[in-house]
């Protein structure tokens, strides 16, 4: 009983993650600007990476394989999910910061407060 609940919960999470991954990839294709694509990257990292890994860990726990295979697969899945939840937001944060400061991509906005503060000499974090 509990196995079937785990299996369907994991399957639902994985399918949801796959759909989110497709949506994020289409968003990557359709958005015009680097700063717009950061939104799609959020969906691709957390929705398309974190949820399916948790779902696959639950699926692996519910199968009728040997115990050590199940434990190994779900343990690796949970660790990788934790790593993705830590690294992907930090990585896109520092990439966006460096891109804005170096002028690699100039944002098409009306007012740019960060640039004004930097020109005033403020040492923003």
């Amino acid at each position: 009983m509990i196995d079937w609940i785990l299996f369907y919960l994991g399957l639902a999470l994985t399918l949801l993650g796959g759909a989110m991954d497709l949506i994020a990839s289409i968003g990557f294709f359709r958005f015009k600007d680097f700063y717009m694509r950061l939104h799609a990257a959020t969906i691709g990292a957390i929705g398309g990476g974190f949820y399916p890994l948790i779902g696959l860990a639950l699926i692996a726990l519910s199968l009728n394989l040997d115990v050590y295979i199940k434990a190994y697969i779900s343990g690796v899945c949970v660790i990788a999910a934790a790593l993705i939840a830590l690294t992907a937001p930090a990585g896109s944060h520092i990439l966006a910061r460096a891109t804005h400061r170096s002028g690699e991509v100039v944002p098409k906005v009306i007012v740019d407060r960060i640039k004004e503060d930097m020109e005033k000499g403020g040492n923003e974090p």
Binding site: D21, S25, R37, G44, V76, C77, T87, L95, E104
Partner: protein
């Protein structure tokens, strides 16, 4: 215990979803205008590939293929920091 054959029925659907996302991401990587765009798309592509690795491990019923997933997840952070370091230390446009 859920029989393995139930998973075998849905595994092609999962493979199809994530492989389609992989193809679209890689098209974005190949046609991007700036380096930042490319690195951002590589991040999402690598996360997509991590799930394909786990699915391949489930397909072969062998857990030993999965250990490469963890350095792959750390590589995302390394690439981001290295490129942002290069850009902010005077390498930008």
């Amino acid at each position: 215990m859920v029989s393995y054959s139930v998973l075998e029925g849905v595994l092609p659907i999962l493979f199809g979803l994530f492989t389609l996302a992989m193809i679209i991401y890689s098209l974005r990587v190949f046609t991007s205008k700036s380096v930042s765009d490319m690195v951002l798309a590589v991040d999402a592509l690598t996360i997509d590939l991590i799930i394909i690795f786990v699915l391949i491990g489930l397909y072969y019923r062998s857990p030993y293929l999965l250990i490469g997933v963890i350095p792959l997840a750390a590589w995302i952070l390394i690439l981001d920091i290295v490129v942002s370091r290069y850009l902010s230390k005077g390498g930008g446009k």
